[in-house]
């Protein structure tokens, strides 16, 4: 079974709010001091799913693809250390500042170039822009079905059986291959690469493709050609008016809180 996994490197989404800064002029996030970028947290789960499916099928290849700056090579190396077979970095200064719609288009072109695939996996969303549109866009560009927010994936002949997480429960669906499936955190913990695997992954080659390698012209990539122009980026203001309930004991504090809530007619 041949699988392509798409991964993205992002600023650590668990960066404490206090160290999160934005350059409003440039409409960009300023990387927090001493906080290294990470692999989008859903992506190792998508990678884990790919590795399990490949191994259950008794063979095949998992190719990891990432569009990003030079440092995104680390995200690819992480997936290779987990056990993926090959890596492709889509890297070109021309992509700087582009939106998810342009990126979905570029990823679809790269997947087309890789050619052989039964299944494409990715995280349900990237935890920077929190949009979740790329899985749908890639599927549409390739003319194949998309199944989103997966909790478990199982190959079933020429199809995949996917359990999806819904707002109010779960849904099990069957989609013909090839298909795109986006993976959610409910999938469970991904494996963590061991030192030996990290060292071996360092030796694996990562191919680098530019915009022109994918047949993308300068007028469809980059910030200037966004389909969804970014007009402003800022940190919303939060003001604190908290009253800390004082008291000698937890019982006293509880009594005061209940009194306050009753005064405010909240209970």
């Amino acid at each position: 079974m041949n699988i392509i996994v798409c991964v993205k490197q992002i600023p650590d989404p668990e960066t404490p709010a206090a160290s999160f800064k934005v350059d409003e002029q440039a409409k960009k996030v300023i990387p927090a001091q001493g906080v290294a970028p990470v692999v989008n947290p859903y992506d190792p789960q998508a990678t884990e799913a790919a590795l399990q499916l490949r191994d259950a099928a008794g063979g095949g290849k998992v190719t990891v693809v990432s569009l990003g700056p030079d440092s995104a090579r680390d995200a690819i190396k992480h997936a290779l250390a987990m056990g993926c077979d090959e890596g492709v970095l889509i890297n070109d200064d021309a992509f700087e500042g582009q939106d998810n719609f342009q990126t979905a288009n570029a990823l679809a072109k790269a997947i087309d170039k890789i050619g052989e695939y039964d299944l494409i996996l990715m995280g349900r969303a990237a935890a920077d822009w929190d949009m979740g549109v790329v899985p749908i866009g890639v599927a549409q560009a390739l003319g194949i079905p998309a199944v989103t927010v997966a909790k478990s994936i199982e190959k079933d002949g020429d199809s995949v059986k996917v359990e999806r997480v819904l707002d109010d429960g779960f849904q099990t669906v069957k989609a013909p291959l090839p298909a795109v499936v986006s993976v959610s955190n409910e999938f469970g913990e991904p494996r963590y690469p061991q030192l030996r695997q990290i060292m071996m992954a360092a030796k694996k080659t990562v191919e680098v493709w530019s915009a022109s390698d994918l047949g993308l012209s300068p007028d469809e990539v980059g910030e200037g050609n966004r389909v969804l122009p970014l007009e402003a980026l800022y940190i919303p203001k939060i003001e604190s008016n908290v009253e800390i309930i004082e008291g000698e004991s937890p019982e006293e504090k509880a009594a005061t809180l209940v009194a306050r809530l009753r005064e405010a007619k909240l209970i």
Partner: protein, 319 residues
């Protein structure tokens, strides 16, 4: 031509509240000059309700497959409604369907979608959308390059209008049939006892700081006394302490109760994304510097293990 098309959603035979909120948002845009308000719905039975809540025209589809809980079958009928209405703004809910259908429509029309939008403004007749990003740490304002502007809207971001039964409007049919290559084998509804989380006037949520799944039983007791529902942070859900259907936050439910009681939850931006709209927030936390305490109206800084039983006793006394 211009105008707004709202994609209404029916679940278990009822129009979802988000559909009314979308109409509320659409009416505001319409009043600002964005053109007439149309709504798309599966089934004639809901048409008058949508008109009473602000639709000028309702496009009814009786296409097969709209009830199975997948977005694909909506694509062709909604596209037909976009075409017939001439709308250049399409609003959907950030729901199981809208989450997929929004991007599907956008890519289909080679335009873009703003996901989980919290505010919509008109500027020179064009849409400007505000949405959270970076887990709720930042806000982005977006516009569209192409004519068709698609947005999914976060629940509880707009007020529904009071239904006005004297409003009248047109009901039209759309004939296009949808299709999908995906087959639904089964659907399992999460069992939620008591009040539905999204509708509850009081929500008591627990986080990783509970340290122990059995603490949720005590939180459920407290919620029960307040006629509320019980929720959880993702950290607690990921640990298997509480079902994911009760998760509050960016990747969970959006709640805006009158009272939100956060027990041992630090207040990460992704959690706040699901409850920041609560009218009154109360924290029980050991850490006075946690974000959750900062956004609270009242906070008790202490071990929840001692505070929650005391709260239960105290509330029983006054009931």
């Amino acid at each position: 031509m211009s105008g707004i098309l709202v994609v209404a959603e029916v679940f278990d035979g009822e129009l979802q509240p988000i559909s009314h909120e979308l109409l509320g948002a659409a009416r505001k845009l319409s009043d600002g000059g964005a053109g007439p308000v149309s709504a798309f719905v599966a089934g004639e039975a809901y048409a008058q309700d949508l008109i009473h809540h602000g639709a000028d025209t309702v496009y009814v589809s009786n296409a097969q497959g709209l009830e199975i809980g997948l977005a694909d079958p909506y694509l062709a009928p909604v596209n037909a409604a976009i075409e017939q209405s001439g709308a250049d703004i399409v609003l959907l809910g950030q729901t199981n369907i809208g989450r997929d259908l929004g991007p599907m429509l956008a890519f289909h029309h080679k335009t873009a979608v703003s996901m989980e939008t919290v505010d919509l403004q008109l500027q020179d007749g064009r849409l400007r959308a505000t949405r959270s990003c970076y887990g709720g740490n930042a806000r982005a304002e977006l516009t569209w390059k192409e004519k068709l502007q698609v947005a999914t809207v976060k629940g509880k971001s707009f007020d529904a209008l009071e239904p006005d039964t004297s409003r009248s409007g047109e009901v039209k049919n759309v004939d296009a049939a949808g299709e999908t290559k995906i087959e639904v084998l089964s659907t399992e509804k999460a069992e939620a006892s008591g009040v539905r989380l999204e509708d509850a006037p009081v929500v008591v949520s627990g986080g990783r700081g509970l340290g122990d799944p059995s603490a949720f039983t005590t939180l459920e007791e407290l919620a029960g006394l307040l006629n509320g529902a019980t929720g959880a942070s993702r950290a607690a859900c990921d640990l298997g302490w509480y079902p994911p259907s009760q998760q509050v936050g960016l990747t969970g439910k959006v709640v805006s109760p009158n009272l939100y009681l956060a027990v041992a939850i630090s207040g990460a931006s992704q959690h706040m994304a699901g409850m920041a709209g609560s009218k009154n927030i109360v924290s029980i936390n050991k850490d006075p510097d946690s974000n959750m305490v900062k956004v609270s109206k009242y906070a008790i800084i202490d071990d929840y293990k001692k505070v929650i039983p005391a709260l239960i006793e105290e509330i029983k006394k006054v009931k």
